[in-house]
């Protein structure tokens, strides 16, 4: 262990502090940047009544989808819950077992960013004049309509990065960066699963995307597990 972060031996240990009722920000977009090991550990760990903020609402029978199937998620805040394999969310939603707050993807990202950046609220043109504007404060600025949107902070962020150093500086890979950097900044506690942990000084400071002050806990996960055997 070095510095103020915790380097955990297992994903289960990393998520052990997540309480019932927590708001959990979960990174990932498609196969890229999904903190699969952390979400699976969260399910094994037993926390319930969770609010999950993520771009999607899980697919297939693993990760977020399994968390929803097991009735552990009270509310999902996301942009795109419906997928060809989102049967667990679809069933829970239709049964009224899970609440959905549908947020346009760019607004979702900006609300998360705002939470990490200390912004009280912001006006965005996205969604103005559409059904998703219902109940929202509006303003016309220079002839264009805007909606008032509020930050979306988390108690915990679960993100997947490519590499961490022992201080918790993170480097991502390709489109796996997606929500990772903004979620890491927006949560009281940020847990990162990474493919590799390197000594302090081994990362080029010019390449660090998430500086270590946003990160509380790092756990190394085998890339084979992350890829679910798809490659390597």
């Amino acid at each position: 262990m070095t510095g103020r972060i915790t380097i955990c031996d297992s994903a289960l240990e990393a998520v052990a502090g997540i309480a019932d009722g927590a708001t959990v920000l979960v990174g990932g977009f498609g196969s890229a940047g999904q903190p699969v090991a952390l979400v699976e550990a969260l399910r094994e760990g037993g926390a319930s009544e969770l609010t999950v903020v993520s771009n999607n609402a899980g697919g297939g029978d693993h990760g977020l989808a399994a968390l929803i199937r097991d009735g552990r998620v009270r509310k999902v805040v996301c942009s795109y819950p419906r997928q060809s394999d989102s049967w667990h969310f679809d069933a829970a939603y239709r049964a009224g077992a899970v609440e959905l707050e549908l947020v346009p993807q760019g607004t979702l990202a900006e609300r998360i960013r705002a939470a990490g950046a200390g912004i009280g609220a912001f006006f965005t043109p996205t969604g103005f004049g559409t059904p998703l504007a219902e109940g929202k404060e509006t303003r016309v600025i220079d002839g264009r309509g805007y909606l008032l949107e509020y930050p979306l902070p988390g108690d915990v962020a679960l993100v997947a990065a490519h590499r961490a150093d022992e201080l918790g500086n993170l480097v991502y890979r390709k489109t796996a960066r997606n929500f990772g950097p903004i979620m890491a900044a927006a949560a009281a506690t940020t847990i990162a699963q990474v493919n590799q942990i390197v000594p302090v000084g081994a990362l080029d400071p010019e390449h660090v995307v998430t500086p270590c002050l946003y990160v509380d806990c790092v756990v190394r996960v085998d890339r084979d597990v992350i890829l679910s055997g798809e490659r390597q």
Partner: protein, 220 residues
Amino acid sequence: MSTLAGIDRDALACVVAADIPPGSFVNLGIGLPTRISNHLPPDSSVMLHTENGMLGMGSGAQGDQIDPDLVNAGKLPVTELPGASYFHHADSFAMMRGGHLDICVLGAYQVSAAGDVANWHTGRPGDVPAVGGAMDLAIGARQTFVMMTLLTRDGRPKLVPECTYPLTGLGCVSRVYTDLAVFLIQPEGVVVRDLFGIDFGTLTALVEVPLVDATQKAIP
């Protein structure tokens, strides 16, 4: 009902591709618009943006090229081109919303004469709503084009006086590319630039929107 042939998806993608100026920064929506990338000339230097955090996206990945860390907005594996860059989601949508992209091409259920677009939700009770990046894309780029079939499967026009499906964005569409005609949404009205296998009279009878025939004029 008479059958109107029009042009097929790839021919339509060709028409759109020909209208994208070299060097443009472009976002191609999921579905039909994705085909446009197959018809951009190799030397066009058009750079494709994908809202999940990449500029300089290449074609779909095959075989050993497939990398789970490199996907497009449709979550399908893609490749990167020399000069590509990666950024996080908030930056990616700032790029879009901030008007830094030249063109966005979307699919749609309906487009109105005023350039309103509906493409995210059928509004049918029981359907799980999902919006993704549709609303940000519709209003973000400098120009928003729609690419769609002109008619629904049961023959109703998708270019309408006012959208009846839930709206995605207001007054944001400037061109509508369809299998039967290309429409320009302009302050003076809806202008028909190209016709494909249909004459202007038949088109006006089909669409409940007043149309201006400009097929004989040179439009830049």
